[in-house]
Symmetry: C2
């Protein structure tokens, strides 16, 4: 909390500038797509300073993740706990669980501090890699409890669902949330500007009923699944 003595425009501390630049560039270019030199240039420091403060590149990357993962995870968890405390029966309804999960990330994505958006883009990107990104272990550690608690809440909210349906459906909700906070611009283009990536109010208002109805539909018995699969799979003309 010490303040600079001069009247010169107070520059952010070096470590912070490096972290912010890393976060932004890693989110845009991926771990391998960004060099320490890119980061140093963006942060307006010499390259050696990056290594001095954070060691090897992998450690810098883990610092970027570790700076926000715990707070993100507790945010999402607290949203669920708030629902559990305010629900009359102690068991929040399905749509409240969905709402808590989605809004927990959406609220961070639209904060004026763009850092949160970059962080969320970064983990969305990391979660799409089929192979071990340097952040895989720390991410699992941070978000494992979140997944477990939400699965338990979903289980309580929809006892008619089978476990496989529940896990898969929750995975799909995660996929959608990560995709939206990634703000790739694809939706804006596909809709010719009708939908805007940053309109999280609209996304939330649509996603909650969409996911709720989708999950409920999995609980209602449906044809033996052989029918749905056979009709088009057999058409192998080409």
């Amino acid at each position: 909390m010490k303040q600079s003595a001069s009247r010169a425009p107070a520059r952010k501390p070096t470590r912070l500038r490096i972290l912010d630049s890393s976060e932004r560039l890693f989110a845009a270019g991926g771990y391998e797509g960004v060099s320490l030199r890119d980061i140093a240039r963006d942060a307006q420091v010499k390259v050696a300073l990056v290594s001095y403060h954070f060691g090897p590149k992998q450690d810098l990357f883990r610092h970027v993740i570790g700076r926000r993962s715990a707070e993100h995870a507790s945010r999402v968890l607290e949203a669920l706990e708030h629902e559990e405390q305010t629900a009359p029966t102690g068991v929040p309804a399905l749509e409240r669980v969905i709402h808590a999960f989605c809004s927990g990330s959406f609220e961070l994505a639209r904060l004026p501090d763009a850092g949160w958006k970059h962080y969320l883009q970064l983990i969305a990107r990391s979660a799409m890699s089929p192979v071990n990104t340097p952040a895989l272990k720390p991410l699992n550690a941070a978000y494992g409890p979140v997944v477990r608690r939400y699965c338990a809440a979903l289980r309580a909210a929809s006892p008619e669902l089978r476990d496989e349906d529940l896990y898969t459906a929750f995975y799909w909700v995660q996929s959608i949330v990560q995709r939206m906070v990634a703000e790739t611009g694809i939706l804006d283009r596909q809709s010719r500007g009708l939908c805007r990536s940053g309109d999280y109010d609209a996304h939330l208002a649509r996603l909650v009923p969409f996911a709720t109805a989708g999950i409920r539909a999995l609980g209602t018995p449906r044809p033996t699944r052989a029918k749905a699969a056979s009709s088009a799979v057999r058409r192998r003309a080409r």
Copy 2:
């Protein structure tokens, strides 16, 4: 179609081996995460041969995309056209449109030829980058018509939906499909082995009713959205 004269184990042509290795490695490591040397080693050729056959790295990447994008796009389109031809009214029901879209990719993902899986992983990964991957323009060209045709079919199948809801919901279905064919292994771990990434029959049997019910729910009028947004957004304790 010429066959080798000797009895030695027929090796695939060089260009093909390079393309297959590139596809596999790019899918796993991303464009920047894989070097031409990695590819040459995997394909068991000298590095110079890669440049000789495909020019600079970006051109190689575009060759990898271009080799399958047209066929993938027509597969997905043909699935829709087949539904349109067999539907009594000429307008396939919502769930048939969803089914056509998902099965069009799922069928390719589980072919014995792993190349298709790698290709699908690669485009799923590229679609998550917030910034221009070298494949962005060719991908838009190949899949633009697919998106337009499916949006039109969804519009015809659910006239009660607003355009914004339709575009967003279809974008979510795309997100889920891409996520599933990416086969990251995350779902397997979250479900502790209960769900398996490669079980596309199960995925399809769940995704069609999930998405159908989700989209239908967007057509039913719902509270002014101010309610859903206000209840939890205002809790900003931290």
